[in-house]
């Protein structure tokens, strides 16, 4: 239920309308809006046409997971030999390959 405007309200509203009257520039607004529409959007970091933001985020997350898993797996391969030698030494197995970096004992007496 809304109350209709009485004559005093109408008179006051007319005064508000008169006080608010001012020149406006709709054509100017139109061209300013068009220029903002045409302003080039910010380029994507990796330009992939047709890639939605959600898909890009999911791809990035998958890439990070793969990189993390690889980060654990690859060092394991490269240190496997050293681990075996340390284990053999701990168990007293002596036929392991000599350590080329072990200090040599000078036994010639010369």
């Amino acid at each position: 239920m809304t109350h209709p405007k009485d004559d005093r309200d109408k008179e006051l509203d007319a005064l508000v309308r008169a006080a608010s009257a001012a020149p406006t520039d709709e054509v100017g607004t139109y061209y300013k809006v068009l220029s903002r529409i045409d302003a080039a959007p910010r380029p994507a970091l990796i330009p992939l046409p047709g890639l939605s933001p959600n898909l890009a985020l999911a791809s990035f997350a998958a890439l990070m997971l793969a990189a993390g898993a690889a980060g654990y797996a690859l060092p394991d391969l490269t240190t496997q030999g050293a681990d075996d030698q340390i284990l053999a030494l701990a168990f007293g197995i002596t036929d392991a390959a000599p350590d080329p970096f072990a200090p040599t004992v000078a036994g010639t007496g010369q």
Binding site: T2, H3, A18
Partner: protein, 178 residues
Amino acid sequence: MSAIARGDRRALGELIALHGRSLTLVATRFLGNPEDADEVMQDVFLRVWRHAQKYDPARARVKTWLYRITVNICIDRQRRTSLRRFIGLDDPPVEIADPQPGAADRLESRRELAHVRGAIADLPARQRMALLLSAVAELDTTEVAAAMAVSNGAVEQLLVRARRTLRKTIAESEEMPS
């Protein structure tokens, strides 16, 4: 609106021609600054251009939807402006004189309108917006309520208070010697 959603720039121009003036007058009088209102108008129609496909004719008329967007952007802008003034980055607005040259016999009328503008500017923001949507945009109570996202009853209250305060302020300014 469907033409705008399809990327029809001419349809956007027609929409601006149809509603731009009224929206601009409301934004100018709400913000008290034509430059701010100009930027608000650009934001409004840019948002319309980008989100035209979201417009649902079953929920609101185009005019009401446009005013809803305008109200939101005006309120955001006013908050930012108030903050900038509070921390001293912006100066308070200076009311620009009517650019149209008036005859001397219209001076009294212009002075009265200047008082009305001052009284509108002094109203609390929600009362000011409700009054402008009702008087300048000529929206009915239900449309004002939709544009401001409040109930019809709240709009009635805002309008009663705004008109009462405005009458009082105008009467006081008329009693003062000019």
